[in-house]
Symmetry: C2
């Protein structure tokens, strides 16, 4: 049989892939498994989007323009202007989820073997897309001690070499919940200007900023229009992960023209998703207020509860709906599996994502898990109770 | 400003990209432009699919499984078994259009620099996906004289070198309308076995076979289970190009496992499209009968009309809804542009895809166009009248 590609072999599996069979086995045994492992919110998709889908009058579901329907692009540009990002519709392209925006950005900007710097822990799929595009990830380790703030800028400087082409950030951050400040972004601006690098910013959690903090977009940075690419998605903003609609936003015309060529090869982003996405721009402000209140409550409950557990450290997330939490165990890959295979608490258990999957540096994250607080309070209560009891019973507990 | 990637520079633009501004300009002048340039049928999407969309009761549009919803995969496997392809649902993965199936297949099976053999003219986007995956296209030129049949098998043998990893075919063929026979496929089977190559087969036009000819799938070939990958889509079968739902089908477990890793990185195929796709499996047979009759009528009218024009040669398509037609002009890139910019016939004109975009060998296809017979007869009549008059008036006519 012919060999598969090296890329295919190197392609990382999902951080929870090894756990899936154990979760399925637990369910077969009749156990309720609470999923804190994935960013799939239980918040309803806005009614205005669902209604647009239900009221479809199309006779033929046709291809859209490769850059997305112009009506949607114009409306989305309007949304960006409302949040202070001054662009017109020709400076954005609709993509198949934020995922495709990331892949297109990497393929457009990097030659195979070139390097991208990422503060770790980071969204695990950056690794996947980097592998697909042949890009090398150079990690800089952030620390739980300051809630995973931007590492000192001289750590970035140290890693910049002749093959370095860019930096990618995610703010508010998946998996840490950290929100980069204007000051941190200004520091990044200075080094991308100095070293002529791209700055990619994944801002899909823009609407999820807490405690009165304001989101600062890379699109606000001055003097780096040619360097900055913003990646976005409707998945989290409108709790509509399945529509697979995202966007790539930049003022760099060469990038836009090149991304369009990749976009033309795959013909068009999903037409039905675009209908939902376009309608969702009119989601009333009350929706976001409700969502905000819901997440704040979940977050506060979770952080409070976790930090009361002995040996557990959970920094206060400033945004998004994740936390990287320190657990007093030997190895979270083992612990998360054990919770599914050997443990139950009132016939329930909890699934979390082991921290190692969010680090590029081997060996890191072994005492950390990512918890997504995407479940309603009563489910969160049961889940965290399971975790607490699990920690007490786990044979590999460290202290 | 930082450089974009070499891949991005090499990425081919769509064959009709240069024509688009001229078509837009013609429309601004108030001219009706008939689109024979794109495979976007005007056939209605089956009512059963539209109804499934309109009747959605979901509260949250969630991610699906990365390989697609299990219910849909099972149903689709049933469809394949009905057409004689004996597989179970674990041997197929739902992709974001046939496009993504092609990209995943290339990324999974080829290292950058490895080669794929394709009979030209071929579907232009194979070039795009090959460029994205760093794969080198080795073309073998088919000829209009035999309706673009499979080139002699020793032409394949001649091109197989140490870097050759596979062959891709499309049957029924876009852009030629040729349908590969069982005998031709058996020849391909022998050489992929002999040289340990992959055989990729794009079978998205399976339902469009004419004159009593039966489609022969690569999945029928015996003894090459590990070599064969079939690429599919619901776009043409159910006239639903915009749902962006396709499938990758293979009995090779290593490929399936590797493709799943690429699929996990992009999270999931579109959920709304999967609902439409799953429902569409129940499209009643009458739908296909009507579509068949419609296309046969269009095809026969088109072929007859084209071949009556002086100097025009249109082979009889055996399947799909395209033809590569020879025109008596100096350069179809110029002619197609001229039709849009300098010509009108009763205030209408016609847009076709110049042949050069379907060849990898430079200089070929200059006297050919691809015509998609996706318009209803009365529109096809006007379009072909425009073409006929255009050919008479065009200053670059050759004879």
């Amino acid at each position: 049989m012919p060999q598969i590609s090296t890329k295919g072999k190197l392609m990382p599996a999902s951080p929870i892939r090894k756990l899936v069979p154990f979760a399925e086995e637990a369910k077969r045994k009749g156990r309720k498994v609470y999923h804190l492992n994935i960013g799939q919110p239980d918040i309803p998709t806005p009614e205005v989007a669902m209604e647009a889908i239900r009221n479809i009058t199309l006779k033929v579901i046709e291809y859209s323009h490769s850059a997305g329907n112009e009506s949607y692009r114009r409306k989305l540009a309007g949304y960006y202007r409302k949040v202070g990002i001054n662009i017109d519709y020709t400076q954005l392209m609709i993509t198949t989820g934020g995922s495709e925006a990331i892949l297109f950005a990497l393929m457009t900007c990097f030659n195979p073997g070139e390097e991208i710097i990422i503060s770790e822990p980071f969204y695990a799929n950056y690794n996947g897309f980097a592998t697909a595009a042949g890009v090398k990830v150079k990690p800089i380790t952030a620390t739980i001690d300051n809630g995973f703030a931007l590492p000192p800028i001289d750590e970035f400087e140290k890693r910049i070499g002749p093959a370095t082409k860019g930096i990618i950030i995610c703010s508010p951050n998946n998996p840490t919940g950290y929100l980069y400040s204007k000051e941190e972004l200004m520091q990044l601006r200075d080094i991308i200007k100095k070293h002529d690098l791209y700055l990619f910013s994944d801002e899909v959690y823009r609407e999820f900023c807490y405690d009165g903090l304001k989101h600062y977009s890379v699109m606000f940075l001055e003097g780096v229009d040619e360097h900055v690419v913003m990646l976005d998605s409707v998945s989290k903003r409108y709790s509509s992960c399945g529509v697979r609609i995202g966007a790539l936003v930049t003022r760099n015309r060469t990038i836009l023209e090149t991304v369009l060529k990749f976009a033309q090869a795959r013909l068009s982003p999903p037409s039905l998703g675009q209908i939902a996405g376009e309608a969702a721009v009119d989601t009333p402000p009350e929706y976001f207020k409700k969502v905000y209140i819901e997440y704040i409550e979940r977050r506060n409950y979770m952080v409070h509860t976790l930090n009361k557990m002995k040996g557990v450290i959970c920094p206060m997330p400033k945004g998004a709906f994740y936390t990287i939490t320190h657990l007093p165990v030997d190895d979270t890959d083992k612990f998360c599996q054990w919770l599914l295979s050997d443990f139950e608490c009132n016939n329930a258990t909890v699934m979390m994502a082991p921290g190692s999957g969010f680090y590029a540096t081997p060996g890191l994250g072994k005492q950390e898990v990512r918890i997504a607080y995407v479940l309603k309070i009563e489910d969160l209560k049961i889940s965290l109770k399971c975790l607490e009891e699990g920690l007490k019973a786990y044979p590999g507990r460290t202290r």
